[in-house]
């Protein structure tokens, strides 16, 4: 889209006021400073017991002021837009620095953004509330029609639209308008007194009409029912070390936990990551290449610019098994003498910027998925996962299966109950012996938590075989 067609940036706070805030808050010798102005509107409707009885919306706006000098940062967050409150915030942010202000006046000026990875429109406008309600009722009927054992259906559709304004120390005003939608289906099934649940979800940065029109919603509903019915047959999961084949797509959460967090700039600058100082070292089998890519159109983890106004990019984290890069925000990049990689993110105006992942995935290999499964003598085939977590410092990470099968002699024996898998980040990737040619990205459901902040992310993986990882079932 040619930039000449864009109109001036409309900001909820006038640019002259933003300029006064910067003039007030930036001390002499500051390395960086910015304002982060956010206006978000979100809507959610959900169905249970066949009725859409929960409908809610929220409007949230506020501004975060930040000043950085070396390793020190000052932050102030407020949702009051009256000038005295804004100036008070500006003064609070500069509280880290004594002495004189930077005397130069700031001229806030528009910076045209050339990227359009998603439409700058409120996704809620693309589908009326009654249309959304109708869809959820239809999905409820669909789930119940698939199998009489379906006793409860929970379906929800949520959307948000965030207008983000970043004003840098030099007055550059960067604007990004971010849509995000999400559909969730969860069912409870019952057979002979045994109750089980299954769920599925999807979404991304596009209009709600996409969710309503396409077949994705129906597919997710069938998937939730399939998983729940499968769980009715699930046997106790095994306990102990064994080879595991991970299915494509969402199991990429392995990468997110095992290495992604460990490569975030803050932990590495501070030397607290199990990956600290390992750049250039072989940390994975030679055929493993892992990237973090914030530039994929309409993906949940994508951003035109990160929350510091840096354009997102494709960063190679591991190339042919060798650790090649970190994920950086501006402050950590500056302190480490590296370039910012467009990974500076914050949950909202009221949170600090941290280096975070966008969409993290492993490139496809050459093995056929069926050959990978056939090579498994006795082990676990894990196709779907719930959440995961990592201890950055010890490198230990977990992720929990939501669909997994016991495999013997290359054949699926039986589904097993959800079990947590635990491994060690710096060596799990050295145990990858086969990589499929079937890279898939997740359906748009990832949310990453760090220091109490949640941000949307994506993951992806081809089918892979990990020669040994500890499976935390109950059958020791």
């Amino acid at each position: 889209m040619p930039s000449s067609t864009k109109s001036p940036i409309e900001s909820p706070i006038e640019q002259s006021t933003l300029a006064r805030m910067l003039e007030t808050m930036v001390p002499a010798g500051a390395d960086d400073a910015d304002l982060y102005l956010q206006h978000s509107e979100s809507e959610s409707i959900s169905l249970e017991e066949g009725m859409v009885k929960h409908v809610s919306a929220s409007t949230h706006q506020g501004i975060g002021a930040r000043v950085i000098k070396g390793e020190v940062s000052g932050h102030a967050f407020t949702d009051r837009f009256e000038t005295p409150a804004l100036m008070e915030a500006a003064r609070a942010a500069r509280a880290i620095a004594e002495g004189a202000n930077s005397l130069s006046p700031v001229a806030v000026h528009d910076t045209q953004q050339t990227r359009t990875l998603y439409q700058p429109k409120n996704p809620a406008e693309a589908a009326s509330m009654p249309a959304r309600r109708e869809m959820l009722e239809r999905l409820d009927g669909l789930a119940r029609s698939i199998d009489p054992r379906v006793k409860q259906v929970f379906a929800s559709v949520a959307s948000s639209f965030s207008n983000i304004h970043i004003v840098r120390m030099d007055g550059a005003h960067i604007h990004d308008a971010r849509p995000l939608v999400r559909l969730n289906i969860s069912v409870v099934v019952e057979q002979d007194g045994r109750r089980e649940t299954g769920s599925a979800g999807g979404g991304g940065r596009f209009g709600l009409d996409r969710m309503l029109k396409g077949e994705e919603a129906e597919r997710l509903t069938r998937e939730a029912v399939r998983l729940a019915l499968l769980n009715l047959e699930a046997i106790e999961a095994p306990a102990g070390p064994m080879p595991v084949v991970l299915g494509p797509g969402w199991p990429g959460i392995l990468l997110h936990e095992a290495i992604g967090h460990g490569l975030e700039g803050d932990f590495n600058r501070k030397g607290t990551s199990a990956f600290s100082g390992k750049i250039g070292e072989q940390v994975a089998t030679r055929s493993v290449t892992v990237v973090d890519d914030g530039t994929m159109p309409e993906r949940r983890g994508s951003l035109n610019v990160d929350d510091e106004g840096t354009e997102t990019q494709r960063t190679v984290l591991i190339e042919d098994g060798v650790l090649t890069g970190y994920l950086q925000d501006r402050q950590n990049a500056r302190l480490m003498g590296m370039e910012a990689t467009g990974n500076g993110r914050r949950e909202s105006y009221a949170h600090a910027v941290l280096p975070r992942m966008t969409n993290t995935f492993m490139l496809a290999g050459e093995d056929r998925p069926e050959d990978i499964l056939a090579s498994l003598d006795r082990g676990l085939y894990a196709v779907n996962f719930a959440g995961g977590q990592v201890d950055i410092t010890s490198g230990k990470f977990v992720f929990t299966t939501s669909e997994a099968y016991l495999v013997e002699n290359g054949k699926i024996k039986a589904p097993v109950k959800g079990a947590t898998l635990i491994g060690n980040g710096p060596d799990v990737l050295t145990r990858i012996s086969m990589i499929g040619n079937d890279l898939q990205l997740d359906p748009g459901v990832g949310t990453c938590g760090k220091e109490g902040q949640s941000v949307p992310v994506g993951v992806g993986l081809p089918t892979i075989k990990v020669d040994e990882i500890i499976v935390g079932g109950t059958q020791a």
Partner: protein, 451 residues
């Protein structure tokens, strides 16, 4: 904005809703301010100041076959912002489905009198908070030569005002304050690095543990993890330290949440009145506790809160409810509605307390003989519908009644129904973590998966 202004704004919003056609409504307003400072390696790392406000409205409308409702919130408290909010709620309520069991807020059992539950006499100055963080981190860094790095120490102080009003004319409010101090340090180097932390939260600065003792404890925790390794898979008794034992209280309160019970999403849905723990186990919920941070005089629907025994001599006394869940389940309203600004009303406990036992932790370990002490857990492997439980763990091997060596890269697994029934002992070391308190808890016969 002070408390009474917030209550007036809530009343006004409820009136605005009624004028636009709501047959019943309630509103909640929240006003928070907080400041925090973090230090690392003896230097200030970050200073944060936040003030935030917001108001939410829930409106019911009458339709042909009953009532429907919607909820919305905004941080724009201007007249325009409030008008837009009311317009939005009314539009949404019209597309919401009629629920024959809808429970509008009017007529709730409101408290007659509201005492100030937390006084805000002692605001922490930035200088004093900074000093506490510095002392805390220094105590951790100088604890041992094995301490090699710091993730920093943080001290913070915040206040929160909550106001509520409903269409029956009730308006009330209360204020809360919280002080917090925490530190996280690293022992060892390279692939042997171990991190651990210690933190404390309280109503007041005076209620916080001594910064120096807190820092030393964090360092001691990190040091004693050095050399941790996996162990072989086995069945064993697992002891949950207080800071991980409180997660068991979380699983229990989710399972006895009236909404989960209605939705058939709880493994305890059919267990009201039944013995689910050994007969010496007692667990309480207290909305007016001198230490707990979850105190409140009324719940998210204006219903007065009451102390309640949740597990009495091993027996589940009932489910936690709000007006809706009580009506649906045909049981009493326990006053556990929770209401934030965003999203819908939910149900949750106030301050949960697992009553401590009589024996010391040392005696408990001696009695157990061989087992595992868990000090940290990872992951979310808990299924609320079935009770299936599988989580990553870190801790220590217990051999011959004593802690022998640090353990990591293992999982512990079982089923919460079995785990609750297999609680073998509770020690006398009751410890508070904000809104939950628990002693060390031993659970027999769990599966440990390791090398």
């Amino acid at each position: 904005m002070n408390g009474s202004q917030m209550q007036e704004m809530c009343l006004r919003l409820v009136e605005m809703g009624k004028k636009r056609g709501a047959c019943d409504a309630d509103a909640v307003a929240v006003c928070d301010t907080s400041e925090s400072i973090s230090v690392r390696h003896g230097q200030i790392e970050s200073v944060e100041r936040e003030d935030g406000r917001g108001i939410g409205l829930r409106a019911f409308i009458e339709q042909k076959n009953g009532l429907a409702f919607a909820t919305a919130s905004t941080s724009d408290l201007s007249d325009d912002g409030l008008n837009r909010l009311v317009e939005q709620v009314m539009t949404m309520a019209r597309i919401s489905a009629v629920d024959p069991d809808a429970a509008p807020p009017s007529g709730a059992d409101h408290p007659e009198h509201i005492d100030d539950i937390d006084t805000q006499a002692d605001i922490w100055s930035r200088e004093a908070a900074q000093e506490a963080a510095l002392v805390c981190e220094q105590a951790a860094l100088s604890f041992s030569e094995d301490i090699t790095n710091s993730e920093g120490a943080e001290a913070g102080f915040g206040t929160s005002e909550i106001a509520y009003a409903s269409a029956d004319g009730f308006a009330g409010g209360y204020a809360k304050s919280t002080a917090g101090l925490g530190v996280s340090v690293i022992a060892g180097t390279g692939s042997g690095m171990q991190r651990d932390y210690e933190f404390d939260r309280s109503h007041s600065v005076q209620g916080l543990r001594d910064p120096k003792a807190l820092g030393q404890k964090a360092a001691e925790r990190a040091c004693r993890r050095l050399g941790a390794a996996s162990i072989t898979s086995r069945k064993a008794t697992v002891v949950f330290e207080p800071r991980v034992a409180i997660s068991l209280l979380g699983h229990l309160s989710s399972a006895i949440n009236g909404r989960s019970v209605i939705q058939q999403r709880s493994f305890l849905a059919k267990h009201s009145g039944q013995i689910i723990f050994p007969e010496w186990v007692n667990i309480a919920d207290d909305p007016d506790h001198p230490v707990g941070l979850g105190n409140r005089p009324f719940d998210g629907e204006g219903t007065r809160t009451n102390a309640r025994t949740i597990i009495e001599a091993g027996r589940l006394t009932g489910f936690l409810t709000d007006r809706y869940a009580a009506g649906r389940l045909g049981i009493e309203n326990t006053g556990h509605a929770r209401r934030g600004l965003a999203g819908d009303i939910s149900i949750g406990p106030n301050n949960l307390i697992w009553q401590p036992g009589q024996i010391s932790v040392e005696d408990m370990l001696a009695e157990i003989g061989d087992g595992l002490l868990v000090t940290e857990m990872m992951g979310f492997g808990v299924n609320g519908v079935t009770g299936d439980y599988s989580r990553g763990a870190t801790g220590f091997l217990i051999e011959g009644g004593r802690i022998t060596k640090p353990v990591q890269e293992i999982t512990i697994a079982g089923n919460l129904s079995d785990m609750f029934a297999s609680v073998a002992a509770a020690a006398d070391d009751l410890t508070w973590f904000g809104t939950r308190a628990a002693p060390s808890i031993a659970i027999a016969n769990m599966t440990i998966a390791g090398q």
